[in-house]
């Protein structure tokens, strides 16, 4: 690089250039106007004449910018060429720098998208602010567990502060349809699950009342939107068709609205009525066993009910639910569906994310520092060479 080149680099930004030119032209206009006034024109006529003589200002700007455009372009091309040459001359350094930056930026990007999805982005369900996650705690048994299905049904019947309450559990599915068979994630849910979230369906409907029958639940299946598109080719007439799930014939009754997966962090392929848990796993006795564990529960609060008051009410109701082997009653805590934004929620998760973020930022910082250090070494080497 020679000095002439370096001097050339001191050039205006396009914005600066325009601002300077505009003031320059305004000055020119002013001088022209004075000139015409001296010739005997009135102020207004002089201004109009000056304007006319100055012509199209936009065009002047365009032409002036054109004078620089080539140098802006050629400078960028030169920088690019120089950069490419430098990197190509030191492939080891280039690879290390690219790797360090890729990893640093990648980790931060991934972490932020997870945090954004869990904590920042609003949940696309009906009135997400009145929904609350139910966390239960009992004795030394562990914290923030779900509750048994019988207890869920008992509380749901007796709660005054919840306008609705739904429970679900995860279940492994093996789906057979036509020629293909695959393993899938399922969610076994109470029959009001979709009514509570209120997201609707692109086809069909939610569960019928028969889905709540503990002994003979309706064999109804609701497909997740992406799965319907990929596995069933977006079949517009999928509702009413039969699908084999874990050896039982189910009828597709609906396809959930696009983008709806239910509460994080489960991303199910399909939903089916909760009592099927016991038919798939007869040994577990989940649905009618008060000692079973653990259905996840969410409530929709009535207008005016706070999460704190509802939690107190749920705790009170739970203390009256005492089948023989039930043991200590549960204490409840209600949090926002995305617990990360809730300061009274499990703090460990929140600070966990803070630590992860801090670590990821440190990694990026280290990556930058490494590249800077390597650059310095390269620069000193080439300067001394």
């Amino acid at each position: 690089m020679n000095w002439r080149n370096l001097v050339h680099r001191v050039k205006p930004s396009p914005k600066r250039l325009d601002a300077d030119l505009e003031e320059e032209l305004a000055f020119h206009l002013d001088m022209k106007q004075r000139e015409y006034e001296r010739d005997g024109l009135t102020r207004e006529d002089a201004l109009a004449a000056a304007r006319r003589s100055l012509g199209n200002r936009t065009l002047v700007h365009e032409d002036a910018r054109d004078a620089w455009r080539f140098t802006w372009l050629s400078d960028m091309a030169q920088d690019l060429r120089y950069g490419t040459r430098t990197l190509a001359a030191q492939p080891g350094f280039a690879l290390a720098a690219i790797l360090a930056l890729t990893v640093g930026i990648g980790i931060n990007g991934i972490l932020f998208s997870v945090y954004n999805a869990l904590a920042l982005a609003p949940w696309a369900v009906r009135e997400p602010s009145t929904l609350a996650q139910v966390c239960a705690e009992r004795g030394r048994e562990g914290r923030w567990m779900g509750i048994s299905w019988p207890e869920f049904r008992y509380i749901r019947e007796n709660s005054q502060s919840a306008s609705d309450m739904a429970a679900w559990d995860v279940v492994r599915l093996r789906i057979t349809y036509g020629e293909s068979a695959w393993k899938a994630n399922g969610v076994a849910a109470s029959e009001n699950f979709f009514d509570m979230f209120g997201t609707g369906f692109v086809q069909g409907r939610g569960f019928s009342a028969g889905a709540a029958d503990i002994v003979h639940p309706a064999p109804e299946l609701i497909l997740q939107h992406d799965v319907w598109r990929s596995r069933f080719g977006g079949d517009p007439a999928i509702v009413g068709k039969s699908i084999n799930v874990n050896g039982h014939l189910f009828e597709v009754v609906g396809v959930a609205a696009a983008g709806f997966s239910g509460p994080a962090p489960i991303f199910p392929d399909a939903w089916l009525p909760a009592p099927w848990l016991d038919i798939f796993n007869p040994d577990l006795h989940m649905v009618d066993n008060a000692n079973s564990c653990c259905a996840q529960v969410m409530v929709r609060l009535k207008p005016g009910a706070s999460r704190e008051s509802a939690a107190a009410e749920l705790t009170a109701i739970s203390s009256h639910f005492e089948p023989a082997s039930h043991g200590e009653p549960h204490r409840f805590l209600l949090t926002r569906p995305s617990f990360l934004v809730e300061s009274s929620g499990p703090k460990a998760m929140k600070s966990g994310f803070a630590i992860l973020f801090g670590a990821a930022l440190l990694i990026l910082l280290l990556a930058c520092a490494n590249v800077a250090k390597a650059l310095k070494t390269v620069f000193i080497n080439s300067a001394c060479a």
């Binding site: 250039l17 320059e24 012509g55 002047v60 002036a64 054109d66 004078a67």
Partner: protein
């Protein structure tokens, strides 16, 4: 109204360089000086003048500075650089040679 005369292509830069060799001047002043010096024959439009001034800046032949004008208003004054002075000499020589060549052809043919 001055009679508009077309400037020989490529000579506007030369004329501006020449005007500036007498000292720093703003755009309007350059246009006025050209008009006076040509006995009102050369009215350089702003549409050519300001892009030409930008060309001088791009090539490093002139530098520009904001300063107070006679009317008290801020104006942008252009001044020749050392490279600009060299360029002027060269362009003057080239121009003389070209004119001489054209004359020669006009006389001879």
């Amino acid at each position: 109204m001055p009679a508009q005369t077309d400037i020989l292509p490529g000579t506007l830069d030369l004329l501006i360089l020449k005007v500036l060799s007498r000292g720093a001047l703003h755009g309007y002043g350059i246009a006025q000086r050209l008009l006076e010096a040509s006995d009102n024959a050369l009215a350089v439009g702003e549409g050519s003048l300001y892009p030409a001034l930008q060309r001088l800046l791009v090539n490093g032949w002139a530098k520009a500075q904001w300063a107070q004008s006679d009317t008290g208003r801020r104006a942008r004054f252009y001044e020749l650089t050392a490279a600009g002075k060299k360029r002027l000499e060269q362009e003057e020589r080239d121009f003389d040679r070209m004119v001489a060549t054209i004359r020669l052809v006009l006389k001879t043919v």
